[in-house]
């Protein structure tokens, strides 16, 4: 089956600053894919390249089997890049009508714009001028614009920005239902708790490079750690026995070991004559896993923030 998104060695440099550094990515169809990374990691640049807004310095990308930016392929992509912008002197509905006129005719029976406004929860405010919209309402209008062509791929960059909790919950349900209908959702977000609930797969980007890709649960499991509770008197011996795993104390009577499995820890302690009271496998939340994968990027972020 054709990948919804495929990138090979995608690189983008802006006046000597590398925004994207040889990104290889493969996103299968019909899933909600989380695209994570700290500010300046290259997420938005990747999305812009996929939409043909930015030309890569090197590498290639395909969307729905077509080269990225292919004008004929854009009709099958719905996108909301960063905070969506509209013509403030027009109403929400008129904005969508103008955007619809800018591309090929909308699919489906007449009234598609009204339906999408209702799906995005903007039915009541559709005929108000956009200049009076809140940020959350603009996000909803951006979502309606992204959905109006019934795309097979949705590219959403921080779509929940400015939405209230009820809006975020509605949005989560909507994305899952879209994925259920076979639409691929490529989502960048800083709301990691949301990503954890919505996404099937995630990729983590750091300084323009892919550092991890896989199922959400898999990422957390890969960073699982073992906590062994021992007698306080045995803690120094336990630390020495588990030194190959860079063990560290956790309180007066426990030892923490990163990236190890429970059996290996139990065996090492037992062979050294230290019998633990408990051995617990701890899986960090996605947020913790994300932070551990992207730590040390502050300097890079500062360098790229000016872009």
């Amino acid at each position: 089956m054709t990948s919804a998104i495929r990138c090979e060695g995608l690189t983008k440099r802006y006046r000597g600053v590398t925004a994207l550094d040889g990104l290889d990515l493969d996103v299968g169809p019909g899933q909600v894919f989380g695209f994570l990374g700290p500010n300046g990691a290259g997420k938005t640049t990747t999305m812009r390249i996929l939409l043909g807004l930015v030309t890569p310095t090197a590498g290639r990308a395909w969307v729905n089997g077509r080269p990225a930016g292919d004008p004929d392929g854009l009709a099958r992509i719905g996108a909301m890049i960063e905070e969506p912008a509209f013509y403030p002197w027009l109403t929400g509905r008129r904005n969508l009508e103008v955007l619809a006129l800018s591309g090929p005719p909308l699919p489906g029976p007449p009234g598609q714009i009204g339906r999408m406004l209702a799906v995005a929860g903007l039915g009541a405010a559709a005929d108000r001028k956009v200049s009076g919209y809140s940020q959350g309402m603009r996000q909803r209008l951006g979502l309606a614009a992204a959905l109006m062509r019934e795309p097979s791929l949705l590219l959403l960059d921080e779509p929940a920005n400015g939405m209230d909790p009820a809006g975020i919950a509605e949005f989560r349900t909507l994305l899952r239902s879209l994925a259920g209908r076979g639409i691929t959702v490529f989502l960048s977000s800083h709301l990691l708790a949301e990503v954890e609930q919505i996404c099937d797969q995630v990729a983590v980007l750091r300084s323009g490079r892919l550092v991890e890709q896989g199922p959400v649960a898999g990422l957390a499991t890969a960073r699982a750690r073992v906590r062994a509770v021992v007698d306080p008197a045995d803690q120094p011996a336990a630390l020495a026995l588990l030194a190959p795993w860079a063990a560290r104390p956790d309180g007066p009577d426990a030892v923490l070991v990163d990236r190890a499995d429970g059996q290996a820890v139990t065996r090492a302690l037992g062979q050294g004559g230290v019998w633990p009271h408990q051995v617990v496998l701890q899986r960090p939340a996605l947020e913790e896993a994300f932070l551990s994968m992207t730590e040390g990027t502050a300097a890079v972020n500062d360098a790229t923030a000016a872009r």
Partner: protein, 312 residues
Amino acid sequence: MRLLRAELAKLARPLTFGVAAAAALFCLLLAAGGTHNAMLGAQGAPRHLPSCAAEGVPAGPQCSRWRAAARAGLRQSEAEPAQVAGQLAPAAAGAEAAGLIASLPGALAMALLAGAHIGGEWSGRTMKSLLTQHGRRWQVLVAKLVSLWLAGLGLIAACWAALALAGPVLARVNHLPAPHQTIAHEFSLAGSQVARALLVLAFFAVIGLLAAVITRGAIGTIAATAGAIVAMLAVAALPGAGPWTPATWVASWMGFPAGLGSVTALPANFWSRFLGTGAPPGQLAGFAGLACLVAAGLAVAERIFRRADISG
């Protein structure tokens, strides 16, 4: 055509209507000033030519030359009220409107519209939304250009409408004589000038388009377009540069008289008064020069825009 309809829909905004209203008001004020000055000129003109002796001109050939020049001036003063009334006849006013919009006031209005309509897509960060709907950038550029050009035509229409409504009233208030010209003649005059103005408006629109793709912002577009127009007029005023500048091509193509004086009578344009009095390059050369500039400007704009990263 769908894309052009979308661009025209975006132009239906308060700024466009404000610029059109300002253009109409400007035309009205000029017409009011022109008719008033024509009336004053006619009232102040001498009824009979004074003698050479009274003016201190020696008799003989010098006196004959002076009398011929004075007679011509007198005839012009006598004819001016009727001429102005003719310019402001409802159908003929189109020529006046085209002349004004195809000159400096129109160029500055087009700079404003280009800034809002084209440069504003960058400033307002809507360019990304537009290009994700329509990826063929050259078509986007052409739709922008054509819609801006149509907005320029709208400015002529607004000015024409204002003059057509107010002209007869101004002529009556200032006691100007009836122009005695046929409606066919009036329309022919207006049609010819409006048709010529189409190319000049396309030229102004291309300058705006080019400024937008280079500066990528509303303010930058307005400043660069206005700056280019003013620079063009300044270069044309340099000695020896005359026939080879875009400003003189505009004047030649529109048939603007060279070296107009100050605004004491109804002007046909706000362009040739900034140029020198040198020989114009001719209408065909004006047409060829402007047409080449429009084509070259569009090609350069397309090349820049095709390669530009949309990062805002």
